[in-house]
Symmetry: C2
Subunit: 323 residues, 2 copies
Amino acid sequence: MTNIRDLAREADVSVTTVSRVLNHHPYVADDKRKAVQDAIRKLGYIRNQTAVQLSTGQTKTIGVMLPYVDHPYHAAILQGIARCAFEEDYRFLTWQTNYVESHEQTVLQALAQREVDGLIIVSHSLAVEDILKYEQYGPIVFCEHHADVSAVYIDHYTAFQKGLAAFQSLGHTEIGICLGRPDSTNSLARKRAYQDTVACTPSEWIYEHSLTIEDGASIARHWLSQPRRPTALLTASDHVAAGIILELRKRGYRVPEDLAVIGFDGSDLAVVLNLTTVAVPYETIGREAFSIAISDTWRDHPQIEIPTTLLNGLTANPAVNER
Amino acid sequence: MTNIRDLAREADVSVTTVSRVLNHHPYVADDKRKAVQDAIRKLGYIRNQTAVQLSTGQTKTIGVMLPYVDHPYHAAILQGIARCAFEEDYRFLTWQTNYVESHEQTVLQALAQREVDGLIIVSHSLAVEDILKYEQYGPIVFCEHHADVSAVYIDHYTAFQKGLAAFQSLGHTEIGICLGRPDSTNSLARKRAYQDTVACTPSEWIYEHSLTIEDGASIARHWLSQPRRPTALLTASDHVAAGIILELRKRGYRVPEDLAVIGFDGSDLAVVLNLTTVAVPYETIGREAFSIAISDTWRDHPQIEIPTTLLNGLTANPAVNER
DNA sequence: ATAATCTGTGGAACGCGTTTCACGGCAAGG
DNA sequence: CCTTGCCGTGAAACGCGTTCCACAGATTAT
């Protein structure tokens, strides 16, 4: 592999000059620049990025910690990160943690070992304090709200309130909710919104551990088996909502007449199902998190809230959907 | 930042010995090993991975080129790669290309610049010959079938045949198909299977550019507008199938009575929709591709075909689904 | 005319871990 | 007793691009 010293010899200049040409530094005479460029072509030189990284102390790479790469909601954030990274000529390394703490530790270690310049934490199970110990090694940006950290997030409390209020304005009082991991920051905020907004909130109407379409289908079966059922269900994701709706329809029940459903995410599934949903601009979250991670602003622990919107489909509203 | 020379000074040994301790080399006396370990603790030493990479000439990182990180089918492959990478203590860099050739070029460049040790190409639009020029810089593994390359793939021809045969055994003769990018290797194989297996294959029954749920919905609307319609439709993905089914049901049509549908992928959407589908073990594809990329076997251009299976739901079979 | 800048260039140090080579000591094999 | 061979250790080179510093010549400002 030819290196810049070979180039310098070939072009009869110093390595400094070669480096200048490579980095488009202005203080190079035209003839020497040309000599170097000829040498590059002649010897087929290709820059060794690793050497650049060691030299500059920057990897131009951001790490992304997320539980599952193939969950639609995480993938959407990843999409935003991917777009922004490409534009900024950065790379990103993804670690799938499955919420296993030792795996999350590996990711933090990678930041300390300077494999990445910064970290975007999409979701995590380690304690925030433990994660923040690694902030001495570089920026850490969360995609969830926590005090005293850099974060880009949606307000799950008000987002859930929007869904609940929509049900209430349609006259629903027997409202249930679905949650993902019951103790996550997001779920706790959602549960608070539920308990603050709705009068009747029995624990049998809080359906936990719902993430996938199939979880939705099993929630539907569970709902069918309940002696006392809510008439409306605010779900944790459009996928869960879709599972519920499809399972109920398969069994001859009607949505929203028998059970009104509101989704969460604003995915294309929602559009096709005519699902009322709380739309979340996940790509924006990814983009914003990335910008913070590569700028100096992270030191101020910026907190950027991304607004959500209620998209009206027909699954929340019996009156409209009647035919 | 403390480095191994600081450690050597502190522990009063040579850098060689420090390096030995760090890498668990056996030829180190117990007392010196302990001295080094004490120094590491005392100075809070953390290895600089970039320096290791430059020194060893290996990044322990694999690059992944794919068009979209958030498409379920690609994400599933990514999942396999992520799992395998973690187990092997490798990292992976993802590039989202959107099938833009200049972006794909960037990825190849990264291999040449030694940012990654190897490349997994999930899907691409550059010509294979052009991609293979970069094989001199490291392993390139495709997730699609091409001659004379390392590849892990499914046989789209026989996979499509399975779906078409299922329709035919139910008595269908008016069969249509959906394709993604019409000129991709996969689509061409699928179209060949269609034309070889089915007697009547008018071009109006080949629905191209279908990737998402919403594409499915618009195919359904298009189907409704056609004077002569197929009675069965083999789709390019479960998402497309879902879009078709949901749109048709929304408009009062029945699946499979009015239109029998078979999906592709074997996703959880298929399970919930009771969709007959050609199941593809995407995670396995990712895993296998990764193993090839990090082993020496890639030089022999191994070709690994992963088998598909037809999963029977009820959307292909009017008789069973009648109630 | 003189001081202060700006251009252009090269030598050498720097970032930092790995690895080759040489060498001394010691034990086992012949 | 001598030769291998294994241990244990360190100096120095290596991988390779960036950058600080010194210096010379050319301008521009005072």
